[in-house]
């Protein structure tokens, strides 16, 4: 009886510790800021729970790979960015700055990412060919199909910022 209680306590402790560590190690996977309805923080679990879409990309190894992830537009919608029907007028002068953990940054116009403008689906991927992304590229990377160089398909995306071009 005593031992049962002990193990119960021990496992509760371990579970709490695991939850705490996970929370500490991976609190927020992606932040969306700038011209948004409200600055939004999305956890890895939330991203994995969204509708998943495949996208093809020819990597630097010269081979086609199938990536799985969430369309950028869906992520932007979570933050209330002007997509779809709202993407007209001055909103067409908005761009998305994608920031990676290593400081690398790339830019898209919002229209490039919008399914009312293009059939190409840019995704935030967490899987390649059914497996996890290699270390250094995951947990989340951008996959931009149909570009001659994969330079905008950047690794370890941590933040997206929507801005108006102001020139």
């Amino acid at each position: 009886m005593k031992t049962r209680l002990f193990f119960l306590l021990l496992s509760t402790c371990l579970l709490t510790k695991a939850a705490w560590t996970q929370n500490k190690d991976n609190p927020v996977a992606l932040a969306i800021n700038g011209e948004v309805k409200a600055p939004t923080k999305i956890t890895a679990a939330e991203i994995l729970g969204m509708k998943q879409t495949p996208a093809m990309l020819k990597d630097r190894d010269g081979k086609e790979h199938t990536y799985t992830g969430v369309p950028i537009q869906d992520l932007l919608n979570k933050a209330g960015v002007t997509t779809g029907k709202q993407l007209h007028g001055e909103n067409l002068a908005k761009y998305l700055l994608v920031k990676c953990a290593d400081g690398y940054e790339v830019v898209f116009s919002l229209a490039e990412l919008d399914n009312e403008f293009t059939d190409r689906q840019v995704i935030l991927a967490h899987q390649v060919d059914g497996g996890p992304l290699p270390s250094g590229k995951g947990p989340f990377r951008l996959v931009v199909p149909g570009e001659k160089r994969p330079a905008r398909s950047c690794f370890q995306v941590v933040e997206m910022v929507v801005r108006f071009a102001k020139d």
Binding site: K24, D25, N26, P27, R60, A101, D102, G103, Y104, P134, S135, G136, K137, P139, F155, Q156, V158
Partner: protein
Amino acid sequence: MKRIKVIGTMVTLVCLAAWVEQPVATPMQLQYPSYFGNRFDMPANNPLTEEGVFLGRHLFYEPRLSANGRISCASCHQQEKAFTDGLRFSLGVDGTSTPRNAMSLANLLWVRNFFWDGRTKGLEAQASIPLTDPHEMGQSPERSAQLLQRTKVYPPLFAKAFGTPVITGDLIVKAIAQFERTLISSNSKYDQYLRGEYQPGPSELNGIQLFFTNPNREKGIRGAACGHCHGGPKTFLELYHNNGLDSVPQDAGRAAITGQSFDAGRFRVATLRNIALTAPYMHDGRFDKLDAVIDHYNEHIHSSSTLSVFLQQGAEGMRGNQLGLSAAEKKDLLAFLQMLTDSTFISDQRFSDPFKNQSK
């Protein structure tokens, strides 16, 4: 009649106001080559002025800003060494060593996040850290302001720069930041080459080529791919990478800031401007010579789970973990790094100690 009186009073008031108001400081324009680009922000609440920069230069060299009155920014950032101190770790007021190597101060205008781990945004915020850090200068801004207020020199210098002789910690930091923005190095042999004023020798030319080229074995293209992280003509990109110094990093680097395990052992890419003058190298000053740095990239990259993907096994052009440069190619790469020395920068009077040859 009454109207005239009112207008008269108003005119008098305006004149009086104009007369009483401090003279406005003179806006300053920075000169830099177009290939550096304009990707920087000048804070709206701290515009660059001649008087602000002049004051900032004094403060940069002012030991009264330290707890023992003996250390200034320039103790660890010496002009003749491109604003480094030649030491592996620097000594602060309390006699302890800084945990990391003192960084070169050149072209800071284009840096957004400061320190080896990019933990501080903006030069104003950066400057207050060494001022107050007990292991560096160790004095509160209030105390520094008090001490300077008591001098003859400083109140008028602050008045000219900021329109008030009342010294505050905030204004001290603003003036230092202004001075630092003027530390532009753009007259190295490499700049002269870019301007068409200098013809590099064959070794230098090949060094330039190697530095900026990603190798491609199939096409027979030689390269050292340094530019991939160290950038274009500025030889600076604000990137954070683990460049393979250790398989188990001693210093967590960027991870201590972001809390993300994938940032372990990542440090901010450093400028290579004046690199021949800023030994020892890396965040912990582990390499005394540039040859050792090149050997590191060529032969001694340590694998780890956070090693930059651009330096990993099988990355484009990498032979295993090695670049595979020949002895001659290493020499050429070194020749290019030496081209980045800017003798004008390290002797520019505008950046020098204003107290030298002048009794305080």
